[in-house]
Point group: C2
Chain length 461, copies 2
């Protein structure tokens, strides 16, 4: 066994041990100051020994959040599933860039297969797409495609237009970032009112579009959300599509969180009308359980990506040859690009379509169970109707207390206990806890445990 | 052993086998059409068996380019080093997002340590920075920081200005992409003439700036390149810095390829004056041998990133609390972001500063050796003086032939033989082969073999 192979073998052993271990805690909480004293982060002059290297790996595991833990309900993702983890390892092992077929032959075909598959779920019959660097980036790519279609001179001459884009007031903050990046301006992101469930109100969109036009701005882009970050709301696509069709605006769907409902016969109606959109963001690292990042932007019409991002200055990389049509770098804003498609392809092979359908159905069943638990417990209050996999609630066992402060304190203690991780946010000015179901391994007993942990702390406050 | 553990164990075995194997070929070349018939890419209704899954992994290895092979000279990267590969595996194992300290405690401190370390090499004494999604993205982030500093209303109102940015005519195409994305416009990317070695001519920059001003455009950004893509040229930073200082323009250095010279006492003078820049792009996945992507944007002055990318709409994620200063998502354009810093930190621990210095010095020694080989062989011609790790040459053994066609044909046959991989491009309208040294494991014998492979094919044409 070579020295390198020995190190690899020991590192692999640590991985297997980590995955087989049942850890009681999601995280061993340390403040930044304390963690800084516990780990020597400095770069050494001379390389460390094999023992020290393995010790650093163990240290990393000790102080990292166990996002695959059944008590991790903090984000719109959780852990990595096994085929996804293996996929990521094989991607790094064969480390290449998705720029050309020449250096990524099979990965190119895999990416093309997956883009076609995802498009089929959305209903884009002759669509295109590319893997991107995250849901935020997917939303931005959609916006630049729309921008350059609406303002054909923008690419060459710059964005010298007063324009307007529309999102719901519950939409993800990445649209603001995109408007900043793309030279559109934050003031031109118009936030459309939502109904009490957090869904964009089509009449309000209509009014917003007309208002923008009246103030001299040129509307070009509407983003509906399928699964909002806080409430899990699905905007009404068919009604919104009527508006965008009427005004000839690009309709984008941010389905980063909710897109996976399309994998389920039972729940795909949540995204009814998706085929009427021009583009859709799909984050497979959220509900498909893959390591971050695994995101795709899907576009209804072929040719738009290349037209939007193409440039002439890379003849050192892109050659005009027999396989040019397979050079995916021509439709990407990246030059070096990791093969993020492999892990998704392998996981889909591993679970099959039916496996993923079961996962989505199961998560929605768990969301229903968690909602019932909240409703049945007098010390808890559901703060918004559950529409998807987000359960917004809070502890109300001490009604005379300042419930905002109490829930912040409860949540802080919970995080520091390391027993469960759940995030909080504000809803109509009130602090709420947002339980997110993203881990399809979660069982009823895990949810029972979670609420027990909440109540146990709440009762001490 | 659980079923999952058994699969993991078998996948790990494949990885170790792949790394220990000496493969004769860099790639087993297949056309897209042929490869499509050899691998069933479709997504199955029911998940595949463990055997089938392992077969798919082996298939992926069989048809992927072995970028770590000593005959892979095709791109500005090669393979993954061992600590980097292990780092990537542990990143996926503990899968989290770099948005907040809460969910990425140790990874946050690691990223901060590395940004400080890289800034120290550049000479940014109180700098900031963030890991980004690649060198192209780093260049874009630099440009948006500069844009929003120069045009303070751009963020809110949009980029309603006729502006101008300057790069050398040998600069990377990502600056064009950035200008498109940022609403600046391709026409406003002004390409400054280079000297015969491919270095930006400062007097030409001066003239270009004055010309832009005269035509009513507002210059705000100059990008120097440290290690150009084709020739490996280093633009003269001190002279360029004089110009940018005089005109109060943002000076960026695209050191994606050449930045690693700063790791070497012997070669850091290539980047003399780096501390005078405002920002610098550093791709650790190039000369530091890490899996793609591992890129950082470094900024001289603290506070600019947050000011440039911040937004108010994410109180579901970013909370005002005791550890807010450690929430790295506040300085990133990404929301979900992989912990790309871990692999770099681990590799740096493994090799130490001295180990990386040796790697850089060794690569430059090999570049010298390869250059000598070309110069000593009458059938080969050096097409540009070697300045860094790019050796631009071509086969001239048959001087009566159309040498452009001959070299294209030679290179095509070489790629299809799978014996060596080297890229080609155009220099002053002529086809050249560009040998890139990015793999510090490459030995003289590998270079001997490479030129033998070239000559063997050349002599048949």
């Amino acid at each position: 066994m070579s020295e390198q192979d020995e190190l690899l073998s020991k590192a692999f052993h640590l991985v297997r041990q980590y995955l087989e271990q049942d850890s009681e805690l999601v995280v061993q909480y340390e403040s930044p100051e304390s963690l800084n004293t516990k780990v020597d982060l400095s770069i050494p002059a001379i390389g460390v020994s094999q023992e020290k290297f393995l010790y650093l790996l163990e240290t990393y595991l000790t102080y990292s959040v166990r996002t695959q833990h059944p008590q991790f309900f903090n984000q719109l993702f959780s852990g990595s599933n096994l085929p996804g983890l293996i996929g990521e390892l094989f991607t790094s092992l064969t480390n290449t860039s998705m720029a050309t077929y020449e250096i990524a032959p099979l990965a190119t075909l895999i990416e093309q297969t997956l883009i076609a598959e995802l498009n089929a779920y959305v209903g884009f019959n002759s669509g295109e797409g590319t893997f991107v660097t995250g849901g935020s980036n997917a939303n931005m790519v959609a916006m630049i495609c729309a921008r350059n279609q609406a303002f054909p001179t923008a690419k060459d001459q710059g964005m010298l237009h007063q324009s307007a884009v529309f999102v719901s007031e519950q939409a993800h903050y990445s649209f603001l970032k995109a408007a900043n990046v793309l030279g559109i301006g934050l003031n031109n992101v118009i936030k459309v009112k939502t109904d009490p469930k957090g869904r964009m109100i089509p009449q309000a969109l209509q009014a917003a579009i007309e208002g923008a036009i009246a103030s001299g701005k040129t509307p070009f882009f509407v983003a509906a959300t399928a699964g909002t970050t806080v409430l899990g709301a699905f905007d009404p696509i068919p009604e919104i599509a009527e508006m965008t069709q009427k005004h000839q605006l690009w309709l984008h769907i941010d389905a980063a969180w909710g897109g996976a409902v399309l994998l389920s016969d039972r729940y795909r109606h949540f995204l009814i009308g998706s085929e009427r959109a021009d583009s859709l963001t799909w984050d497979a690292h959220k509900l498909m359980g893959l390591p971050i990042v695994c995101s795709a932007i899907l576009i209804k019409h072929q040719g738009i990506l290349a037209q939007t991002v193409s440039n002439q200055d890379a003849d050192y990389l892109f050659h005009d040859h027999e396989n040019s049509a397979y050079d995916l770098g021509l439709t990407s804003l990246q030059c070096g690009r990791k093969a993020d498609s492999l892990k998704l392809w392998l996981a889909w092979q591993y679970y099959g379509k039916s496996g993923y359908q079961k996962k989505i159905d199961w998560l929605l069943e768990m969301a229903d169970y968690a909602t019932q638990k909240v409703n049945q417990c007098p010390e808890l209050e559901l703060m918004a109707p559950t529409q998807f996999l987000n359960i917004c609630f809070r502890y109300v066992g001490n009604p005379s207390a300042d419930l905002d402060r109490l829930n912040l304190e409860l949540r802080d203690r919970l995080v520091k206990s390391g027993k469960s991780l759940v995030n909080y946010t504000f809803l109509k000015g009130q602090v709420i806890l947002r339980l997110v179901l993203a881990n399809s391994e979660v069982q009823r007993t895990d949810l029972d445990q979670f609420f027990e942990n909440i109540l146990a702390i709440g009762r001490t406050l």
